[in-house]
């Protein structure tokens, strides 16, 4: 499952760098695309605006296949309060832009699974694939607009995964 999560994140990160190279952030002193995996960063109550935060939630295994089929739910949390120069009046437009970017990121629908625990990363025998995104309603939090997109990611558990 960990290989799937890592491969999915890197597929999304590469996609974001292509879709919108300007969506970047500085985290732990490094500038990188504006997407991060919540569980891989410090557990500080920090909220970065205008970036995608991936949170893995549900997991189920279907054993009625030659290889166990893992099904994981990944949530994309993102919010914006607009830009300071526009007094935040553009927050709806910026959230719509993030919606569109996420739709484009998820269009690929599949990626090669890799093992990142070894150097260099080793390609695995199977791929991961995911559903179309399901978008929750906009949540108005004072001057912030928040949304959560959900996608289900599937992969076959190889011997190296278990």
């Amino acid at each position: 499952m960990e290989n799937t999560r890592n491969s999915f994140y890197l597929a999304m990160r590469s996609g974001l760098a292509a879709v919108n190279p300007l969506r970047t952030m500085v985290l732990r002193g490094v500038q990188r695309p504006g997407i991060l995996v919540e569980e891989n960063e410090s557990a500080v109550a920090i909220e970065i605006p205008d970036v995608f935060v991936l949170r893995w939630t549900e997991l189920s295994i279907d054993e009625q296949h030659p290889l166990p089929l893992a099904q994981q739910v990944c949530e994309f949390h993102y919010w914006t309060e607009g830009t300071f120069t526009n007094g935040g009046l553009d927050r709806g437009r910026l959230l719509a832009a993030m919606d569109a970017e996420l739709v484009q990121l998820l269009l690929a629908h599949d990626a090669l699974k890799q093992n990142f625990a070894v150097t260099p990363p080793a390609p695995m025998a199977t791929s991961l694939f995911w559903t179309t995104g399901v978008f929750g309603p906009i949540v108005v939090d004072k001057n912030r607009l928040r949304r959560v997109g959900r996608v289900t990611v599937f992969d076959y558990e190889e011997a190296a995964d278990l």
Binding site: L10, R28, R32, V37, S42, V44
Partner: protein, 150 residues
């Protein structure tokens, strides 16, 4: 009658706050900061690298337990009052925009060798300048788990 006089700022209140903190023990704490990640290394973003940290000493400080009702399973909370001058020096040293950014970047606060998580920060100001910072801390592990039997 309101005070409409124009008063020039001086550092008297900040020095008074520092004096008060020193009189309470002049405690020193460490703000645990992650060492900047390595550019271009995927393992840094996948949780595969062993992170490195550095503790920024902040002094004087006063540390006290927050008197809130104790509930089963709830971690204890503590309050830290920090010298604004010490925080300003750390902000300058780390080359960050503000104290808020500095606290947001920190992993926690080390007090007497024990790591606490930062829950919230606030400050006391006078004439628009910060005199002291208040930091609400939460225990990362219960006190009992840190006790050793000799």
């Amino acid at each position: 009658m309101s005070d409409l006089s124009v008063r020039l700022y001086n550092e008297g209140q900040q020095r008074a706050a520092d004096s008060l903190l020193r009189s309470l023990g002049g405690f020193s704490v460490g703000l645990r900061m992650p060492v900047p990640a390595v550019t271009g290394v995927d393992a840094e973003q996948l949780g595969l690298s062993v992170p490195l940290f550095q503790d920024l000493p902040l002094s004087p400080a006063a540390f006290r337990k927050v008197r809130t009702p104790i509930e089963e399973g709830e971690a204890g909370k503590h309050e830290l009052v920090l010298s604004a001058a010490a925080v300003a020096a750390a902000v300058s040293g780390q080359q960050v925009a503000s104290a808020e950014v500095l606290f947001a970047m920190a992993t926690g606060m080390v007090v007497n060798g024990v790591l606490f998580l930062i829950e919230a920060t606030s400050f006391t100001e006078w004439l628009g300048k910060v005199c002291a910072y208040r930091v609400l801390l939460r225990e990362t592990v219960p006190d009992a788990a840190q006790e050793t039997v000799s």
